[in-house]
Amino acid sequence: MRLLDLLFPERRNSAVIAKDRLKIVLAHERASRDAPEFLPALQKDLLEVVGRYVEICDDTLRVNVGKSADTSLLEINVEIDRSKVKPVNNGAAPRPRPRPIVRLDPESQAPWVKPG
């Protein structure tokens, strides 16, 4: 057995594979278990903002909240495909799509204007 391992060092024993797989799956599950409630919403917003510059799909953006000692760490991972970077006007960000303004009563003031 030992000799085989020396001859074929890439053949890892199954216990090592089990340990590595568990570490990865548990790291992921623990992160989502302890995640704050706003995380899915944050992920959605980030996807929208980053998506203005590059084409990304849902599974290439991951948001995690981790902890090391006293500090909480917000970790954002985005995988980008270089070929799918969107064109940028003169170095400025592409404009967001204008949001339709909905006014129920055209005579009334906008809700953010304080009444005199």
Binding site: A15, A18, K19, L22, L26, E29
Partner: protein, 270 residues
């Protein structure tokens, strides 16, 4: 003050009931007044493992519903006066295990016992959550195998968030790892996760390692908690685990290959 211990695992078939019976009997052998409760409503089995299946008259649900008194339902073990078994009901209504009813029964038991050992059902449904809810200590029964380790991690998370201690901001439930069905030979061959691997992954303190042993099946066949078998490596490992649980220092046994005399290897038992 009585201590409530839950044996839980998430995954089924890892040895929760065997371990609950062994640990309760081990505590009783140390002179502690101990009751072991079956929380697996509808799938009663602790009575068989404890060898008192023919003495069940009233059960946990009867007592919760007020149809029987606690002392009518408790079964005193014939081998040890400190040990009592509290069987569960075979009803199919899983929700019969009402939390306030369970609390009332546990409070009454606390007046008469040093240790209340709760044998949890598998899974993370109502029964399992009720079993762990009132725990002061939890013994996480785990096999050195990927699905068991993963489910243990999940249960540890649930203990930290859903238990009474978590909900009331009390000291957290003390968690202990009990690694069962361990085969040193297979670990040496690289076919099985080692104690160190599981400890590292779950990062909770180790209470004991129970070697895979023929004596466990023999014990369940005869309805005898395995600690009553002095010859059994599993039985001795459970007794060590109980000693550690009450605060004694014990070395881990059966984690090194045994040096066997020629006589023993020729004639001795494994």
């Amino acid at each position: 003050m009585a201590k409530v211990i839950v044996l839980t695992s998430g995954k089924g078939g890892v040895g929760k009931t065997t371990s609950a019976a062994a640990i309760a009997a081990g505590l009783a052998l140390r002179g502690k007044r101990t009751v072991v409760i079956d929380f697996d409503v509808g799938l009663r089995n602790l009575d068989l493992i404890m060898g008192c299946e023919r003495r069940v008259v009233f059960d946990f649900i009867n007592v919760i519903n007020g149809d029987a008194k606690l002392n009518q339902a408790l079964i005193r073990d014939k081998r040890n006066d400190n040990l009592y078994v509290f069987p569960t009901s075979q009803t199919r209504d899983k929700e019969a295990l009402k939390r306030d009813g369970v609390e009332r029964v546990l409070d009454e038991l606390k007046e008469n016992f040093d240790y209340i050992v709760c044998d949890s059902p598998a899974g993370i449904e109502h029964g399992a959550i009720t079993a762990l809810y009132f725990a002061d200590s939890a013994i996480i029964v785990t096999n050195p195998e990927v699905s068991s380790v993963r489910d243990s991690d999940r249960i540890i998370g649930i203990l930290a968030s859903k238990s009474r201690r978590a909900e009331h901001n009390l000291d957290p439930v003390e968690v202990h790892l009990l690694l069962t069905r361990y085969s040193l030979e297979r670990v040496k061959k690289g076919e099985m996760l080692s104690v160190e691997d599981v400890k590292e992954i779950l990062s909770i303190p180790l209470l004991g390692v129970i070697p895979e042993s023929e004596s466990v099946l023999k014990a369940s066949n005869t309805g005898t908690p395995v600690v009553f078998d002095q010859e059994s490596p599993a039985g001795r490992s459970y007794l060590d685990a109980v000693a550690r649980f009450v605060g004694e220092q014990r070395e881990m046994r059966f984690l090194q290959p045994e040096r066997r005399s020629i006589f023993r290897s020729l004639f001795g038992r494994a």
